[in-house]
């Protein structure tokens, strides 16, 4: 199964999760997602997702001047973002354990 299809549903949660402990700028967030194992995540998807999460009022942004190249726009979780991360995280864990149990029952190899 193509991971990209799965990723579409949970990219919001993944972006919120990598911002949990530390704010980051766009490329930095992309790198964190890839380091975490989400190799197939598209650059444009991450930026689009960041924009949508910001529009939904879940993220703060601020601009940090950089010596080399253009200024960097940092994203961070606000209170609503943390709240959303906790709720969506619980939903995902429930869903994932349900799927695990279903596959175990049918004897599908892990």
């Amino acid at each position: 199964m193509d991971t990209t299809q799965l990723l579409k549903g949970v990219l919001d949660l993944a972006v919120l999760a990598v911002l949990k402990d530390e704010d980051g700028y766009g490329y930095d967030i992309l790198r964190r997602l890839r380091t975490a194992g989400l190799d197939e995540v598209g650059d444009a998807s991450v930026y689009g997702t960041l924009r949508r999460l910001f529009q939904a009022g879940l993220l703060n942004t601020y601009v940090v001047p950089s010596e080399e190249g253009p200024h960097r726009k940092y994203y961070g979780l606000n209170a609503a973002g943390r709240d959303q991360l906790n709720r969506a995280g619980k939903t995902w864990r429930n869903f994932a354990s349900t799927m695990d149990a279903l596959l175990d029952e049918r004897g599908v190899a892990a």
Partner: protein
């Protein structure tokens, strides 16, 4: 190919593919792209198109992830135009939201306003109690909703309305859109009602303040002496003043021209009379025909009897200084 040119070309390609979006949204989406392209270019070999795919695909992916729907290239109908207008309005509100936030000390103005929601619920309850009182009893807008004139009833009505408003406020988010629109409309009505009511209450306060101001002023405080003139403009001396009850009127400064002892002697001889300083007329009244005007300002005034002057006037003028005939030439 030049690195900067390649990045600019890619950026232009993405921008063209997003041309149907309103400018604010498009700029927002593209804000991070130059920096990102720089990073990708610095990362390794290969052109941007090889690494990221064609700009159109990049734009489509970003658009999909941002929840903005697919590109529309066909002619736009009225629905689309309305939708675009709403989107643009939302974009403008979003920008205002973010611009106003730092002024208030928050990331977004809406974050701050959201915290004020419970305060609005309490105010809304208060205004409902006030509206019930004004509409049922027709009384004015005061500080307490005095239903039936009882303070206890007022406090009870207030408590019930405020608690109900808070209860409703906490459940508003889960209600159907129709109900929420109704509540918003009611809130707007209460807001206007409150503004009008408080404005009226304020007016009452101002009128009351003005009345007390007028009462406290003594408009004769500055008077130090009293000069009386007859109908021809001749100054009268040794005039006595009485009020409607026959009590002598004492105003001014009795020691203006006389020492304490001289004044005492004068009061014992002829009583309290005005002016205190007959030798110093403060001004001249326009002389009438047949009346001799004072020869010079500052000098004792000599009054000559004239044929038209009534002789039986009680306060007939008496020359106070040495009688001196007016020089005639």
């Amino acid at each position: 190919m030049n690195v900067a040119t390649e990045q600019d070309e890619y950026l232009d390609g993405v921008r063209r593919a997003l041309a149907d979006l309103d400018p604010a949204t498009r700029d927002e989406l593209l804000e991070d792209l130059p920096e990102h392209l720089t990073e990708v270019a610095a990362e390794g070999e290969g052109t941007l198109v090889e690494r990221l795919g064609p700009p159109e695909a990049y734009a489509a992916e970003m658009r999909a992830a941002a929840g903005l729907g697919v590109a529309r290239t066909t002619a736009r109908g009225i629905d689309d135009r309305v939708a675009a207008g709403v989107r643009r309005l939302r974009g403008a509100l979003g920008v205002a939201d973010r611009k106003a936030g730092p002024v208030l000390g928050y990331g977004r103005a809406s974050e701050f306003l959201r915290m004020l929601l419970p305060a609005w619920w309490v105010l809304r309850g208060y205004l409902v109690a006030m509206a019930i009182t004004v509409l049922t009893t027709g009384s004015g807008f005061g500080l307490l909703p005095r239903l039936g004139g009882s303070t206890l009833a007022a406090v009870l009505v207030l408590a019930v309305c405020v608690l109900a408003s808070i209860w409703l406020g906490r459940r508003e988010a889960g209600l159907r859109p129709v109900w929420r629109a109704g509540i918003a409309l009611g809130g707007l009505f209460l807001f206007v009602f409150g503004l009008v009511g408080f404005d009226k209450a304020d007016d009452h306060g101002t009128v009351w303040f003005d009345q007390t101001q007028t009462v406290s002023v003594n408009q004769y405080e500055y008077v130090r002496d009293v000069y009386v003139y007859d109908q021809y403009g001749n100054p009268l001396t040794n005039v006595r003043l009485f009020d409607q009850d026959g009590n002598p009127i004492q105003i001014g400064d009795p020691y203006r021209c006389l020492s304490f002892d001289d004044y005492k002697a004068k009061v014992e001889a002829i009583g309290e009379t005005y002016p205190y300083c007959p030798q110093r007329p403060p001004y001249l009244v326009a002389p009438q025909p047949g009346v001799v005007a004072p020869p010079d300002r500052g000098e004792p005034i000599v009054v000559s009897p004239t044929p038209t002057e009534p002789t039986d006037t009680p306060a007939s003028p008496e020359p106070t200084g040495t009688p001196e005939p007016t020089p005639t030439n």
